[in-house]
C-alpha cells in the first residue's frame, strides 16, 4: 500500500496516488503543466486542452488523464509547446482579447500562459465576433468578448455556491456563456460578489467593479515572473517537494 507509485516526466520521477491526474500529481511535485480550464479545486473539465502532454507517444490532456505507473510524460518540449501555442492562438482569435484595453492584463492566465509558451502573434485570422458586455450588476461586470468557455464559473456556482448562475449554451462555435435569470442579465440573477464564482475566471470576463487599476500595470502577478513560477504551482511548492 505504501510503496509510492511513480511516473517519469521530462526526466524527473513524479510520485502519485491512485486516481490522481497527471496534472495534479505534477503540481503536487512542484512541476508546472500549462493549463486554463483546470483548477485543482474543481472537477476536471478537459475543454481547453492547453495541458496537453505527450504520454508514451500519445497526446492527452493532463487534467483528465489518470497518472499510471511507469508512464513516460513529455511536458516542456518544443513540439508540445508548439501545439499549445496553436490552441492559445485559436482562443485569442475566437474572442476579442484586447490586452491594452483590459483591466485584467498582467493578471490574466490566458495572457500568462501565452507568454510562457512564447506566443508572439495570433497567427490565424481574427473572427472579431460581436459580443455583449453586461454591466447590470452593481459589483461585477461580465465582458463576454473575453470568455474562453472554461466553465470554471459554471462549476464554482454549481458545486460551491449551490446557485447555478452560469451555464454554457449552444454547440461548437455557437457555444456561449449564459446567465440564469429571467432577463439573462447578471444583475437580475442570484449572483453575489462573495460567491466563489466571482473569483475563478482565468481571464478578464468576470471582473469586479471599482478596483480596476488598484494594482498598477507592470506590478501584477505575471508581469515580472512567469506563471510557471508564480502561478498555482507556487502554492503547491510550499508543501511536499516530492523529488524522486
Amino acid at each position: 500500500m505504501n510503496t509510492r507509485k511513480t511516473f517519469r516526466m521530462d526526466g524527473r520521477t513524479i510520485p502519485f496516488e491512485d486516481g490522481q491526474s497527471i496534472i495534479d500529481a505534477a503540481l503536487a511535485a512542484g512541476e508546472y503543466i500549462p493549463h486554463l480550464c483546470h483548477n485543482p479545486e474543481f472537477t476536471p473539465h478537459g475543454s481547453c486542452r492547453v495541458c496537453t502532454v505527450d504520454v508514451d507517444g500519445r497526446m492527452v490532456s493532463a487534467c483528465t488523464q489518470p497518472a499510471a505507473e511507469g508512464q513516460q510524460v513529455v511536458n516542456n518540449s518544443d513540439p508540445v509547446n508548439h501545439y499549445r501555442r496553436r490552441l492559445l492562438q485559436m482562443l485569442f482569435v475566437e474572442g476579442n482579447h484586447v490586452c491594452p484595453g483590459c483591466e485584467k492584463s498582467g493578471a490574466c492566465q490566458l495572457q500568462a500562459v501565452a507568454y510562457y509558451t512564447g506566443m508572439l502573434a495570433p497567427h490565424f485570422t481574427h473572427f472579431f465576433p460581436r459580443r455583449e458586455v453586461d454591466a447590470s450588476h452593481p459589483d461585477t461586470v461580465i465582458d463576454f468578448n473575453r470568455c474562453i468557455l472554461c466553465e470554471l464559473c459554471v462549476r464554482a456556482s454549481r458545486d460551491v455556491d449551490g446557485k447555478n448562475v452560469f451555464s454554457i449554451s449552444g454547440r461548437g462555435i455557437q457555444s456561449r456563456l449564459i446567465i440564469n435569470s429571467n432577463t439573462g442579465r447578471l444583475g437580475d440573477s442570484d449572483y453575489d460578489r462573495a460567491d466563489k464564482a466571482a473569483s475563478v475566471c482565468p481571464v478578464g470576463a468576470i471582473l469586479p467593479k471599482h478596483q480596476g487599476y488598484e494594482v498598477p500595470i507592470g506590478e501584477r502577478l505575471y508581469d515580472q515572473r512567469p506563471i510557471s513560477v508564480v502561478g498555482d504551482v507556487a502554492q503547491a511548492k510550499q508543501g511536499d517537494n516530492g523529488d524522486g
Partner: protein, 179 residues
C-alpha cells in the same frame, strides 16, 4: 565599411507610440546609426519606401492607404516586422469592429456631442475606411512579430541588435508583453 543596413518604418492605424518607443532607445540610436541608416520613415519624412533590409510597421490596416503602404513595404523590404499590438492583432483601433462602420461615422461626425456642421467627410483625398480594421498579417506575409502597446525600447533594442547581428531573436521574460 560594409554597406549599412537600411531600415524603413511606417505608421498605419496606430497612435505613433511604437515610433516613440523606437526613439526611446535614446543614446543607443547612436550605436544603431553606426550600422544602420533610415530609408523612408516619419522620422526623416521621406514619403516612399525605396529598398530596405528591415521594414518596421506600426499599426493595423484600417483604410485603403494603409493597404497600399503595407503592400509597398512588402515589395521593397527584405524582412517585414509587425511592431506593436495594433500591427499584431488590430489593437485598440480594431475595437471599432464591434460596430457597423456607418454607426462609427455617424457617432463621430453626425450625432456626436458638440458636432457642428454634421456631415460624414467624403473628400476624394481622404482614404476610404475599410469595413473592419485588420492585423497586418491578414494582408501580407510578415516575418517577425514584436508585441506590446508599445513594445518597450528595450525589446525593440533586443530585437534589432539580435536581428542585425544574425542571432536567433529571443527575449527575456519581461520584454514580451501584450499590453
Amino acid at each position: 565599411m560594409a554597406d549599412k543596413i537600411r531600415i524603413a518604418t511606417a505608421p498605419l492605424a496606430g497612435c505613433f507610440g511604437c515610433h516613440m518607443s523606437l526613439l526611446d532607445i535614446d543614446e543607443r540610436l547612436l550605436d544603431l546609426i553606426e550600422v544602420a541608416e533610415f530609408d523612408c520613415s516619419p522620422l526623416n519624412d521621406f514619403k516612399r519606401v525605396g529598398s530596405a533590409d528591415i521594414g518596421l510597421i506600426e499599426g493595423g490596416v484600417a483604410n485603403t492607404e494603409n493597404v497600399e503602404t503595407l503592400r509597398d513595404f512588402r515589395r521593397h523590404c527584405r524582412i517585414l516586422v509587425a511592431v506593436g499590438a495594433c500591427a499584431v492583432n488590430g489593437g485598440i483601433p480594431a475595437m471599432r469592429n464591434q460596430f457597423d462602420l456607418r454607426d462609427c461615422l455617424e457617432e463621430s461626425y453626425v450625432n456626436g456631442i458638440g458636432v457642428e456642421n454634421p456631415m460624414i467627410p467624403n473628400d476624394p483625398e481622404i482614404p476610404l475606411l475599410l469595413d473592419k480594421v485588420h492585423p497586418i498579417h491578414e494582408v501580407v506575409k510578415i516575418d517577425y512579430f514584436l508585441p506590446g502597446c508599445p513594445p518597450s525600447a528595450d525589446s525593440i533594442w533586443t530585437f534589432l541588435t539580435e536581428l542585425i547581428e544574425g542571432r536567433p531573436v529571443s527575449f527575456p521574460y519581461t520584454q514580451i508583453h501584450y499590453d
